[in-house]
Symmetry: C2
Subunit: 389 residues, 2 copies
Amino acid sequence: MLGNFSYSNPTKLYFGEDSLEYLNEELPKYGKNVLLVYGGGSIKKNGVYDKVMEILKSNGKEIFEDPGVMPNPTVEKLYEGCRIAKAVNVDLILAIGGGSVCDYAKAVSVSTYCEEDPWDKYYLRMEDVENKIIPVGCILTMVGTGSEMNGGSVITNHESKLKIGHVFGDNVFPKFSILNPVFTFTIPRYQMIAGFFDIMSHILEQYFSGEDDNTSDYIMEGLLKSLIHSSEIAVNNPGDYEARSNIMWTATWALNTLVSKGKTTDWMVHMIGQSVGAYTDATHGMTLSAISMAYYRYICQYGTAKFKRYAVNVWDVNPVGKSDEEVAKEGLDRMESYMKGLGLVMSIKELGVTEDMLAGITSGSFVLEGGYKVLSYEEIIEILKASMQ
Amino acid sequence: MLGNFSYSNPTKLYFGEDSLEYLNEELPKYGKNVLLVYGGGSIKKNGVYDKVMEILKSNGKEIFEDPGVMPNPTVEKLYEGCRIAKAVNVDLILAIGGGSVCDYAKAVSVSTYCEEDPWDKYYLRMEDVENKIIPVGCILTMVGTGSEMNGGSVITNHESKLKIGHVFGDNVFPKFSILNPVFTFTIPRYQMIAGFFDIMSHILEQYFSGEDDNTSDYIMEGLLKSLIHSSEIAVNNPGDYEARSNIMWTATWALNTLVSKGKTTDWMVHMIGQSVGAYTDATHGMTLSAISMAYYRYICQYGTAKFKRYAVNVWDVNPVGKSDEEVAKEGLDRMESYMKGLGLVMSIKELGVTEDMLAGITSGSFVLEGGYKVLSYEEIIEILKASMQ
């Protein structure tokens, strides 16, 4: 049921092959000092870095750089970014990369002028932002997290083995994001398909919550069908513009707050996946894929009606002459075949998880309400064991 | 295919049974002088008027009124609204009503400080707004047009028998809109179901354009299925909150620019419907329903693949053993049954159209490109004749 909520999304999106040109329209809105935030050297190899530098220079910007953002940005890196941003009095943080880089940019944006330890305030205690926020713009080169149009920011603390995501309010959303599907063509296959499953997981974790039948459920079914269709094309032909552009657009709408309206939302797969990530530093989307089948096969019994609907509406299972349980199971079987077909990691063992880590991963998994079952410690352990197959 | 586009939607939405309370958060952002714009007396009968007045007064506003906005707002009414808005130096226009009232509020908002005749500049010549724009807020009491979250504004000129819609940029979008499904419960049945079809028409006129297979098509299929499902509940039980809230939310997303991304869009049914409206002053949604079956049955031959997809994905037609044409036709047959089941007007005769009007209605229909067929004068006449059955 659609209860009471408000909706606004202030991020301006520029989409398409020519979208980088619009950086020229955005830059004059901000001061002179731009902090370029990015990961490894891939943007230098594929030419995006040079193109952005040229536009920044032609707009008379003073450019500072904060490279080396890792796939799971650490709290130490965050402290370093804040020191740089403060020292040079940054007017705009420009993130070039995927979700990790965008997440990190938002973390620096809210933390630079935070008078306490930002890890404590914004991640451990999840408090609202009261200090000055540095505006962020994003140029996406990897697809999956939806970070380009939301307030999400995940930071990892290796010392305490915690990977925590804070979903900030719309004052922290990127001011603009540039989405050029072509920039995503050169991502390694492993990262590409991990991103595809990250998108799917975002949709499923909102879809499988509540027994409601509302507009958000229908929109999510549409997004899922589009994603399945386009990902099966893209996995065989990563340079297919139509498929990659659909996936890029689906990723944004899967996690920009729209489809959560009226849904309690679940996020248990993300919680367990993040805990796996804190132990293994594995690619985010793969931690989700490695857990998902065990998780959904387990909770299916607590939400059979919705899993049946999922099987019929998303996986085209013919329900005639079958029990609800059979239909639901057939849907999950098809999902598993699809995942294997993409080449996703289906076991946490492959990600480096060993038996002795299971207790720690379980303790590090925040247990959320909202899904069909609030998991106990024992249930999480069982799901993790089933994910070791 | 998703080409180059930008997306931003600055309208803030407050949704739900308690959403009117948020007017208290919005009002302090604007100056003292509020112009209340509304239609007939229905908002006085159902109590919405009193509730709004109380909130305005408790926020210390100076309240001016511009009532009597008609279902198809006229250019004479627009001139009158501009005179009032200018005389009292309005800081915020607050529209209470359905699409016509919101459309009218936007027209006054851009026209009050226009130095030329706004009909010429903004409707006949469709020019951009350079003058001062008065901010608009909306409180919806009727669902259908999506005007609460877009830049659309339709004005009728009876003298020249023209009904023209200008889609303004996001600087003209309402600053905020309050969507309380309960406020829509007291709409007369005829207006309610006309609104349902207006929503459907918005989706179909974007869906049936291009042969593309992109994310927008999948989202629209989801919105259509949600709409069909909820409208069949609401027509039997107008007080069903879940159904009415889903419909209200679907209406907003059907026409707030999201689902048009990557679509050429059609709008020919709206063009012919608006011309019928200029001749008969009939309810907007009913002009669309009365024309739609004849229109879609005609253009089906030019986009059979998409009509087949529509039949299968939206109307659950089983395609096994049937030709594409048969599947497509079966989908349209189911659509027609659904429309009759709702009680929609299926003939323009019922709306007061007579044979002698057909030539004028055809000439008054702007012919748009973007759909599967650019219609000739003769084709529009044929569609109108088929709609006289």
